[in-house]
């Protein structure tokens, strides 16, 4: 009875799901259902809540988000490089250095912009 590792992963997740989903159903069934304006109000330190909760917050950190998407890709490529590092000839190892050096200027710009709070 040898399973593929992904099948084992799915069996594990499925068993965990079987364990916790009934809990959620149980909690849902056992809980009182009365609606009440005060109880249903979002928590705001005991104050009456004011205005919309879903406002436009924190545009300031948008550069970090873009850098994350970019570096996600870069990191994945770097892992293939790391795997192949000793198998590659020495000159080709440094191709990835070129790849990284190209990114220095844009990332510097991104860090500079993220420091300037007045443009966000």
């Amino acid at each position: 009875m040898a399973f593929d590792s992904w099948t084992l992963m799915l069996i594990f997740e499925f068993l965990l799901f079987l364990g916790i989903f009934p809990l959620l159903i149980f909690g849902w069934l056992m809980s009182a259902k009365g609606r009440n304006a005060i109880r249903d109000a979002p928590f705001e330190s005991g104050q009456t809540h004011l205005g919309e909760a879903r406002q436009r917050y924190m545009m300031q950190y948008y550069p970090y988000l873009i850098m994350f998407v970019v570096f996600d890709v870069v990191a994945m490529f770097l892992f293939t490089w790391g795997l192949a590092f000793t198998a590659l000839p020495f000159a080709q190892d440094f191709l990835f250095l070129v790849f990284l050096v190209i990114l220095v200027a844009p990332l510097g710009y991104a860090l500079y912009l993220s420091g300037k709070t007045e443009v966000w």
Binding site: I66, V69, V70, D72, V73, M76, F77, T80
Partner: protein, 102 residues
């Protein structure tokens, strides 16, 4: 193991859904969804063809690496464009974005 054609049918269906979205939707973010779906349909084809060759060709996987990376970059710039369009026009309905005024 399934025949190659089953993967091709799935990817064609995904392509069809993507084109349907591009034709009938007018929300810029949904258009972006459609583009992503089409890119993924192409990726499935690349991987399936690479896998079903004998011996399997490594280039298929390499190309999908670059394809996924390029699609991520495309989504990043596309979302920034949508953000600017919303800021300038107050809507992301592409029918309203028909004036070329910065």
């Amino acid at each position: 193991m399934e025949p190659l054609s089953s993967y091709l049918i799935v990817s064609s269906a995904l392509l069809g859904i993507g084109i349907y979205g591009l034709v009938s939707k007018r929300n810029a973010i949904r258009l972006l969804f459609s583009v992503e779906l089409i890119v993924n349909a192409a990726n499935i084809n690349f991987v399936a063809f690479a896998r079903y060759s004998n011996p399997p060709i490594l280039s298929g996987w390499d190309i999908v690496f670059y394809s996924v990376a390029a699609a991520a970059m495309e989504a990043t710039v596309g979302l920034a464009l949508i953000l600017v369009a919303f800021r300038l026009n107050g809507t992301i309905d592409v029918r309203r974005l028909n004036r070329l005024r910065g």
